[in-house]
Each structure stands twice: as C-alpha cells, then as structure tokens.
C-alpha cells in the first residue's frame, strides 16, 4: 500500500499506475452535480472558482450531517460518470485530478492524459469509513446546496485505487 500526501508533484502523479492501491492524506474539495454546474457558470462569467484549482483534487461526494463530536458524517464517493460533462474543462484549470467511483468517459480519460492528472476510485458504499477519516471540514461555497455544497476536507489515509492514470491506463478493462 502506497502512502501519498497532498499536494502531489507531477512526478508523483506520473508514477501512479492503474490498479495501484493507495492511502491518500491531505486537503481535498467536495463537488458533485449542482456544484459543477455552478463552476461552469463561474467560468462563463469570467469569475474565479471558489477554490484554487492548481493541483487540487475534487472529491465527487456529498456528506451526511456530522454527528456530535465528529468533523464529518458518512461521506463515500458518488458516481463519477455524471461529472464527465464538466471534467475536461475543469482539468484544464490545472487540477491534480478527481476522486469518485466508477469508470469515466474516453473524453475525460484523454483530458487526464493531456493534463497529467489522475483519477482515483474510492470504494463506493463505504461512507462511514471515509467520513471517519475526515479530520476537518469547512464550507467553501454554495451553502444552499446543503450536502451538495463545496466543502474543504482534510483527510487522513483515504483508501483509494488508481482507476484512470495519467498515461491512459485504466483499472476497468
């Protein structure tokens, strides 16, 4: 099991191969369907995104409310394929990559390769596991979206599988 700490250097990203199992720690940002639509509206208006995209990792997820004494509630990944429509545009802003579940499109995979970015699969349905590994969580934008809002999360040892690597490799074939 490879241990990785964010931010990742280009060399670190390029060294990852589809099928590698890793434990990732550091700061990530949540965003799912509605947040992505708002990101696109931001870009159309020529405004900056509510987080610095350089080297950032987006986690396709919407958490449960945090129980008493915890930073975050259950928070596993959602289906990444729904974000295909936005992924190439977002990647071109310099993202390190994505965390989600399930295969992404050929267009997204091509963009990952062009941008030297990586897509990690978290284990879908393991919400309590991931939520329990979130050490800090703060709201960044769009509170009206509730669980779909953008949150900054400091995570510890997230178990992930390199699903689409920066060389066109994939774990799904």
């Amino acid at each position: 099991m490879k241990k990785l700490t964010l931010p990742l250097s280009k060399e670190q990203i390029l060294s990852l191969r589809a099928g590698d199992c890793v434990e990732l720690s550091g700061v990530i940002y949540t965003a799912r369907d509605c947040a992505h639509r708002r990101f696109m509206e931001c870009l159309e208006r020529g405004e900056p995104l509510p987080f610095d995209p350089k080297g950032a990792f987006l986690y396709f997820a919407g958490p449960c409310p945090a129980p008493e004494g915890k930073a975050c509630g259950s928070c596993g990944p959602t289906t990444s394929a729904r974000m295909n429509a936005f992924a190439p545009t977002i990647l071109k802003l310099g993202l390190g990559g994505f965390i989600g579940k399930g295969e992404m499109s050929m267009e997204t995979r091509a963009a990952l390769r062009e941008c030297g970015a990586v897509y990690f699969a978290a284990i879908g349905g393991a919400g309590a596991f991931y939520g329990d590994h979130v050490e800090e969580m703060t709201l960044v934008a769009y509170p009206d979206l509730m669980s779909e809002a953008v949150y900054r999360m400091k995570v510890k040892d997230f178990p992930l599988v390199v699903a689409h690597d920066a060389h066109g490799g994939t774990v799904y074939e």
């Binding site: 449960c64 509630g73 289906t79």
Partner: protein, 276 residues
C-alpha cells in the same frame, strides 16, 4: 375491525428508517463475506473496505453509506384495519422527516433541483390485503444504482431468452457505475408501471432466497451466472462477483406483451420490516 392510529405507523417508519440507514441486511453481509473470500487484488481490497465500513458504521453510529436514499415504503394494509389520526401519507412523511435529521437529505425538485430539506416525500406504495394487520417494509434507495435501472417492453416472441438478455444487458451497460456487486430486482409481466413496482418489490427479498416457482427460480439462477461471467467485479475492478443475486417477481400480463423491469440495487442493501 381493528383501529390503528397513524401515529403508530409514523413511529414504525421512523424506527425502520433509523435502523436501515445504519445496518446492512444479514443476508447482504453474509453474501459480501463469501464474495471477499473469492476475490484478489483491487476487488478484494474493495470488499474488505466495504466489510470494515460496516464495523465502523456500527461503532461510530454513522450511516453505512452517505446516500441514505429516497425513502421507499411498501405497505400491506389489511382491509379490516380502520386508520385514524393524521392522513396516512403525512404520517409516513413525518416518520421519514424525524429519522433523516441525522442523515443526508437527498430529495429535490426535478427541475429547479431545490432540496426539499427533509428527505420527504417518501415513495409510499399501498397494497390492500385481507386481515387486520399492517406490514411495513422500508427500503432506502440510493440513486447511483437507481440511475442504472431499465424498463423493456419485450414481445411475447422474445420470451425467456429475451428476459435473461434484458437483465444481463442492463447490468453490463451499468458497468462499474452502480457500485457492484449489485443486487438485481426484476419485474416480469404486469403493465408499464406495475412491472417497475414488481422489480422494486423484488429487492425486498433476502439475498440468496429464490422464487418459489421453479421456472422463475431457473431464470434467477441463469441470469446470475451470466452476470457473474461478465467479469465486471466489485466496484468494476474485475473479478468473479458482479452480482450478489437476482430476484424476480412475476404477474400476469397482456397477450400482446412481455414487460421486463430491471431495478439495480448497490451492494449496500438496507431493508427493514415491521408488522403492526
């Protein structure tokens, strides 16, 4: 005749929703354990994480999956029961509202996408049956898997082979997206809408239990074998376990048709039952 206050139904819905959010069904857990013994590599890693997740969920009192779902309530209402108190659908929603305070609220307007804020309305389905009891089933339905579900209006000529092909094709096209290993609910017969309901109802059967009709059970076994031969595997990481089971429900249909509905459930099977 028996009088039941709908407050009792509301309280039962509340209890079932709370339990369902925090626990997998026994048969689901057993099937996942069996699958974990068979897999290797990333697929094994996925199943081990899923099993450890349930231990953490119980220890920390956290929902097993953050998608605590759309609240699906199936009710068998005895016709000798007289309900008093708040209207039935309001009572069910009230139970859901209270239970979901600690869960994710996932229900929104389909066009504006504005969240209803309390996970209501529930999807309530009532069947009137004989007797004076009320049987309730609570199924929190996640949408990663619901999105991959399909309805086929087959012709009678397509028959048994067409049914199996519809089931296997649905799972194949869903691929890694619905959180495999999946549980596959299938409705065969009825009409456009009742067929889809049968598929949902099929998901409330315990994993590993086959249909009492031999010809239907044979379809379940053959479809399961073909699905697992696809090699999609846990989370799509390739492997032997793409589905934990196939469960079919049948109903008479029209001489001109053969509706088949395939409702996909992820590996996180949560289903609670109570009888009042």
């Amino acid at each position: 005749m028996r009088i039941i206050d709908t407050q009792e139904i509301s309280d039962a819905v509340y209890r079932m929703a709370k339990r369902a959010g925090l626990n997998l069904t026994e048969s689901c857990r057993a099937a996942l354990k069996k699958a974990a013994d068979k897999e290797t590599g990333a697929a094994k890693f996925a199943l081990d994480t899923i099993l450890e997740n349930e231990t953490i969920a119980r220890r920390e009192t956290m929902p097993v999956c953050q998608d605590t779902g759309m609240a699906v309530v199936l009710m068998e209402l005895g016709q000798d029961v007289h309900l008093v108190g708040m209207p039935l659908s309001e009572a069910v929603d009230d139970g859901v509202r209270r239970a979901y305070r600690g869960f994710r609220k996932s229900i929104c307007d389909p066009l504006t996408r504005e969240n209803t804020g309390d996970n209501t309305p529930a999807h309530l389905h009532v069947e009137i049956v004989s007797g004076e009891s009320v049987k309730l089933t609570f199924l929190p339905k996640g949408f990663g898997s619901e999105n991959m579900s399909r309805l086929f209006m087959l012709t009678p000529a397509e028959g048994r082979a067409g049914i199996i092909d519809a089931i296997v094709t649905t799972v194949k096209e869903a691929g890694s997206r619905p959180c495999p290993p999946v549980y596959v609910g299938v409705g065969i017969g009825g009409c456009f809408d009742s067929c889809a309901y049968l598929a949902k109802k099929a998901l409330t059967r315990e994993v590993g239990v086959f249909h009492p009709r031999d010809d239907v059970a044979a379809i379940e076994r053959e479809a399961l074998e073909k699905i697992n031969a696809l090699g999609i595997g846990p989370q799509g990481f390739r492997g032997e376990t793409t589905a934990l089971g196939v469960s079919c429900e049948v109903a008479p249909t029209h001489i001109a048709g053969l509706p088949v509905a395939v409702n996909i459930q992820c590996h996180c099977i949560r289903c609670e039952k109570e009888t009042l």
